[in-house]
Symmetry: C2
Amino acid sequence: MRSIDVAILGATGVVGREMLRVLEQREVPVGRLKLLASPRSAGATLSFRGREHTVEAVTDEAFQGIDAALFSAGAGTSREWAPRAAARGAVVIDNSSAWRMDDAVPLVVPEVNPDAARERPRGIIANPNCSTIQLVVALAPLHRAARVRRIVVATYQAISGAGIEAVRALEAQQRALVAGEPAEPGPLSGQLAGNLLMHWKRDTASGYQEEELKMVHETRKILGDAEIRVSPTAVRVPVLNAHSEAVTVELARPMTATEARTLLTGAPGVELVDDFANGVYPQPLAASGRDPVYVGRIREDVGNPGGLQLWVVADNLRKGAALNAVQIAELVFAS
Amino acid sequence: MRSIDVAILGATGVVGREMLRVLEQREVPVGRLKLLASPRSAGATLSFRGREHTVEAVTDEAFQGIDAALFSAGAGTSREWAPRAAARGAVVIDNSSAWRMDDAVPLVVPEVNPDAARERPRGIIANPNCSTIQLVVALAPLHRAARVRRIVVATYQAISGAGIEAVRALEAQQRALVAGEPAEPGPLSGQLAGNLLMHWKRDTASGYQEEELKMVHETRKILGDAEIRVSPTAVRVPVLNAHSEAVTVELARPMTATEARTLLTGAPGVELVDDFANGVYPQPLAASGRDPVYVGRIREDVGNPGGLQLWVVADNLRKGAALNAVQIAELVFAS
């Protein structure tokens, strides 16, 4: 892979920092590195390969000569800046929801639909939502073999994706709980420590959370099959990092657990942790800080002969965000 | 209701103590009260209506003249002692899994199948598993109106049902986490604080946990419909008390969310907490210590036209165990 000049917009956020870590750990040949943020965060310094880099306020000129512009700065910022960065010649890889369902923007998980990254008329490639990425990495091999027809998914989502202030709020709540003091909501919608929340933006017409509808629509786009039906429930659990998903899947033909295990063994991005007879299954604590999508508890659905149930766990900041974005950059600039 | 003589076997356990609290709070006309336990726990004293009662080691004679024998002492103890208590004339209301699937033992949720309590050839009535009780209380009104055909359920289960030592272990883990120290498993199968576990007894042949298979079989028996198919996933979350369930339901005919809301409004044992447009939905923290089965997030399934999704939360020690047992006693000895 040739050396690439990289900009990160939203470098000081949880995902931005994770992008830096991933670039470092994967030894991506980064030439020039521009760390960008809102004027509010400009001036901060972040370390990359032992050197301090100063974060600059985003400008059009900052993208001049940049190969890959990794965006993790929210949908509003992305709607404004992605076209401007693309106009300067950068390939924008955007972690927000702004462009994901745009027909002229590919939505890419490199293990699943790498070819989609080739056509990018707007100069933008969208990085899917965290809960969708781990779902499609786990289901793509089954889909290719037997066509996924329906997915029922209930999530157990960590707080890390909600940003550093949300993480700190959960930590403060946990300290309060242990001290026997009232747990203040802070920036959270309520008490998450010792509790569960469903606090994503709501779509009033359908009664769904936007986080849930992302799983419905993004799954179809990534797997390239508009007929896949998804029944989602998204729940925030008091876990710091790594999302878990209870997945029930119906296929166009019956599949045994053994066949699913064979298909998933060595599948790209997947690591089987599936020895439940001996109490071995994926856990978010063990998945945090790691790259694979962990799949376990593969079993034939007792409620639907021919169908399957499984348990899918992945680090939402890495495969669910930063790692997937960096993998897209590697894919685009390979050779 | 006439005065009844009550024995509680397993009185010192988490559920046993909750039974005492429920009897007190509901002002059940308890005449004689016998608190029983294994010889190991005998000698402890528990307070009931301001009077101290000494816990006795269980004997056959202890059940002589007892009307209702509430058992919460595990399946092994129940298999041994339920027939012996019944032989002395007591109606045994058993909270363990020992008798639930016995054809000669009714499995009763008073709001759902009260009539089943009438025939009890063994003198035993079984109290269903906690996760099943809240599921059937929420679904029974929908089943009566439109026949439930399939249920996909993912649970978010609190630790309280695992016993006082498990509760203390989670609390110790939470203290360790906050202090930045390693969280010792203790009697748990691993770290639950900041993590998720699936640590129920495993059925190796099917790959399911017994907790999951209980939902499959008990739901059918209570709703009196062997054709209901259940696809379950049971997960332990770091919550002290009250279980939550993400429920996807398919019915024999299409049902709108509005119809479901109408059916569930004022349904016995149900309290709707369903104003999601304003961020109102059931939470385990709010459900803990309360009697109703809370239902919210009722929505038309985006992945299955005509089907529904909902979120069901209840105190697993109360409606999931002690309250349901006491309600069965009230039902049997009413009039």
